[in-house]
């Protein structure tokens, strides 16, 4: 290898090492600040930690919204079509919050069934659905279909 090539290689390699060290350190630090997302069924299962900020997403159950008469306090249920958890919130809800629509709540779990939210995000326009929620619903839909098929097969056997 010629001398100037060697020098070039050393320059490239050492800058890559330096950069990846910096990236590694930062990524290590970020881990502590990551708010994880959970589907309602994982919350009910006990996968989600108490006393740590998490995000939960799902559809607002129709008829579940209970507003307080003289303050902003509100309670509602969200579901991934499998399990239901209750969200409590004492700030104003976004304009696009509606029953039957996908929302995301950020906050801490009070118990396995209740989340005290500090932030509620609704979808931004008619088409947009947060990817997490879309996936959650797709997953539980798929599982549901599978279950039905299995049941169907069982029933086939029976008859």
């Amino acid at each position: 290898m010629k001398a100037h090539r060697k020098k070039k290689l050393i320059t490239i390699l050492s800058s890559l090492v330096l950069l990846s060290t910096a990236v590694g350190l930062l990524l290590y630090a970020i881990g502590d600040y990551a708010d994880a997302f959970y589907e309602p069924r994982r919350v009910v299962n006990g996968d989600a930690p108490l006393n740590k900020t998490i995000r939960v997403g799902g559809l607002v159950t129709t008829g579940s919204v209970k507003r307080s008469k003289d303050s902003l306090y509100v309670e509602f249920d969200i579901t991934d079509n499998e399990e239901v958890i209750t969200i409590t919130f004492d700030k104003s809800l976004p304009d696009l919050f509606r029953e039957g629509q996908g929302i995301m709540a950020e906050g801490k779990l009070v118990d396995r069934k209740t989340l005290k939210a500090t932030k509620v995000l609704a979808k931004h326009d008619e088409k947009y659905m947060p990817p997490e929620i879309a996936e959650t619903l797709k997953k539980s839909h798929k599982d549901g279909v599978k279950k039905m098929e299995q049941q169907g097969e069982k029933q086939k056997g029976r008859y």
């Binding site: 100037h4 020098k7 070039k8 320059t11 490239i12 910096a22 990236v23 930062l26 990524l27 630090a29 970020i30 600040y33 990551a34 708010d35 994880a36 997302f37 995000r55 507003r67 008469k69 003289d70 303050s71 902003l72 700030k91 104003s92 809800l93 304009d95 696009l96 995301m104 950020e106 931004h124 326009d125 008619e126 088409k127 947009y128 947060p130 990817p131 997490e132 879309a134």
Partner: protein, 655 residues
């Protein structure tokens, strides 16, 4: 017919771009003059074709041609004309067309205003832009064609434009931002042309620098407009959310700011050539990354359009090709760029290195925080989000160092300086700034917090240092006024931009730490006390407008019994989509805003309202405007207006 015409122009533009992206390269390689001259003509042609195509889409909107799917989804007969024209960039397909039209406008500008460049460099710059155009025009044609028809079932009326976008801020914000994003592609093209040539002289830097500055000005204004819009339109009174898409525009800004500074060293001293080129590539890559993040819907963001993996894949491939190709070329050629390393430890060169290291570090914070959720999902299948608790402290950490170093760096001499000469006066100014800001803050607010004192002191110090520098620069003249006149515009530009940074920082810090937010229940004819203010709910009315119904509360605000202002916050219901929108009412002021929005109706005609007191919030955008103005002054410096460059004799040593 007209949409077909638009589609046809778009196809022609693709063909033209392919010609522009190939033949001039060959011409530059073989020294074929005809092929090189072709570049300018093709670039101007590209602009005309895309402008025509863009006008066709606008006509389709104005004529309510709902046989075009894009028009049907984003317009409506009830929509006022001004919003029909701006609805063109209201969603993905149309805003992409705007993007490539602006790219072509930049190309035409380069073709027209770069007569002093050698024909080889000009041909290569334009051809590189042509290749970028090929990528984006085919992206539009193959994955997001705005001219697609919905035949045979033509809707009778359109689905309306998202109400959030029916607003002045939204009319000007995207084009500004795009001008900035796309402007950096010009700098990228300059970098590629320089690398192909294997040599960057100071003429190269002198040419690349004003283009970078202009792109940076647009980006600065674009980001500030977006922040201002979010503040008054979203109704939560915030001005920056560390949303992935905000970050996507902020990252090219940070890289572009670093680039501006290192270009100064390259132009004036011939230093850091290879690093400057790398930064130019990086800045453009971040603009592309931003486009990818916005368009693919991979991240949860208020800006995310409908998720479409095909589009995401296309941009990711294009990003890979463009960045990979540029970096490969860079790795091949960078050691040919001979930089001038003749400087000492105390010099402006070193100050610029520190500036770049710090800006790059804060860029890394924003980049990793934005991409971490993607990484976590891909590696561990875990859905996470990163918010202000991470960004605020980590970004501020590096930013504080930047603020601390500017007063020294901006008045350092090139090549060699004495620290002792700078250190004592600056530290004296810093002491003064700390005293003033502590006094001011303890007078303004009830309690003295550490971070506001640090931030405001540093900002105040920077402002004082800028003033002191003006005094110092004007010292050698017969009178102060004569001295002031002698300061060059590029210096004024720098000082103004740095002052702008101080102003923005003061605004950001004070409004973050001292804002007051109250949720209040109020009944008609009732007076409620909020802090020192009395709010009287006079009446509640409904009004009908072109395409929405407005429910308006009339609130009379008084202070110590004196009437201060009447605010009318609204809830709007848009008739076509049925969407509900909150319109906050703001009483703006240079030192504080009073901001009231209707939260939600309670029983018996009562309302829950949000009352915000936002001190110094205007300073955030005012500072950004000062920065942009500084950029304008720097670009208008007379050395950029010389038609032909006289050869630079050695390295001028300016102080």
């Amino acid at each position: 017919m007209i949409p077909e015409l638009g589609h046809f122009f778009l196809i022609l533009a693709l063909v033209n771009a392919v010609i522009l992206g190939t033949l001039p390269f060959y011409g530059a390689h073989t020294q074929h003059n005809g092929l090189m001259r072709l570049a300018s003509k093709a670039a101007i042609g590209q602009f005309i074709l895309l402008l025509a195509s863009y006008i066709c889409l606008t006509i389709a909107f104005v004529q309510d041609d709902f046989s075009v799917a894009y028009v049907a989804n984003h317009s409506n007969t009830l929509l006022p004309l001004r919003y029909k024209v701006t609805a063109v960039w209201g969603s993905h397909e149309g805003s992409l067309l705007l993007w490539i039209m602006i790219l072509a406008a930049w190309m035409a500008a380069v073709a027209l205003f770069s007569k002093a460049l050698t024909s080889v460099i000009r041909a290569r710059v334009l051809a590189t832009l042509g290749l970028i155009s090929v990528g984006f025009v085919s992206f539009a044609l193959f994955t997001s064609n705005p001219f697609e028809r919905v035949l045979p079932f033509i809707p009778i009326d359109g689905a309306d434009l998202n109400p959030l976008l029916q607003d002045f801020g939204m009319i000007v914000h995207p084009p500004m931002l795009y001008m900035g994003f796309v402007g950096f592609s010009v700098v990228f093209a300059f970098a590629i042309a320089g690398l192909l040539q294997g040599d960057l002289d100071q003429k190269w830097a002198k040419w690349a620098r004003p283009w970078t500055t202009v792109a940076w000005i647009f980006l600065t204004v674009g980001i500030a407009l977006g922040s201002w819009w979010a503040y008054y339109e979203l109704g939560w009174g915030g001005w920056w959310f560390w949303d992935p898409v905000e970050n996507a525009s902020f990252m090219p800004w940070l890289a572009g700011t670093a680039l501006l500074h290192s270009l100064a060293a390259t132009e004036k001293r011939g230093a850091y050539k290879s690093w400057t080129v790398l930064l130019a590539i990086l800045t453009f890559s971040l603009s592309l990354l931003g486009t990818f993040l916005v368009r693919s819907g991979v991240l949860t963001s208020v800006h995310a359009f409908a998720t479409d993996p095909e589009r995401g894949l296309f941009i990711l491939t294009f990003l890979g090709l463009a960045v990979g190709g540029a970096l490969a070329l860079y790795a091949w050629q960078f050691d040919k760029l001979k930089s001038n390393n003749n400087y000492t430890l105390v010099s402006k060169e070193i100050a610029i290195v520190l500036n770049n290291v710090l800006l790059f570090s804060s860029l890394l914070v924003v980049l990793l925080g934005t991409l971490y959720p993607l990484l976590a999902d891909y590696l561990w299948g875990q859905k996470v989000s990163i918010g202000p608790p991470f960004f605020d402290p980590y970004f501020s950490f590096f930013f504080a160092f930047i603020l601390f170093l500017i007063p020294f760096g901006q008045q350092m001499n090139w090549k060699q300086d004495k620290l002792s000469k700078v250190l004592m006066p600056q530290l004296a100014l810093l002491g003064l700034a700390i005293i003033i800001s502590s006094l001011l803050l303890s007078w303004l607010a009830s309690e003295l917090l550490l971070w506001p004192v640090v931030g405001v002191s540093l900002s105040l110090w920077l402002t004082l240092a800028c003033l002191a520098y003006v005094v110092k620069l004007s010292k050698n003249a017969s009178s102060f006024l004569q001295g002031i006149k002698k300061i060059r515009r590029s210096y004024w530009g720098m000082l103004l931009a740095h002052t702008g940074l101080a102003v923005t920082t003061i605004g950001a810090i004070v409004t973050t730490f001292y804002s007051i937010e109250k949720d209040v229940r109020i009944e008609p004819q009732q007076t409620v006390a909020v802090g020192e203010l009395d709010i009287y709910f006079e009446k509640f009315d409904n009004f009908t407008f072109e395409n929405y119904i407005s429910s308006q509360a009339t609130l009379k605000v008084s202070e110590d019994g004196d009437h201060l202002v009447t605010l009318k916050p609204e809830k709007r219901r848009y008739r076509v989509s049925g969407q509900l929108m909150t319109e906050a009412a703001i009483h703006p002021g240079l030192f504080s805003d009073l901001y009231i929005s209707l939260a939600q109706p309670l029983e018996q005609g009562a309302w829950a309202i949000k009352v915000y007191y936002k001190p110094f919030v205007r300073w955030v955008w005012l500072g950004a405007l000062l920065m942009a103005l500084g950029g304008l002054l720097a670009v208008s410096d007379k050395r950029y207006r010389q038609k032909k460059f006289t050869k630079v004799k050695g390295y001028r040593n300016e102080s």
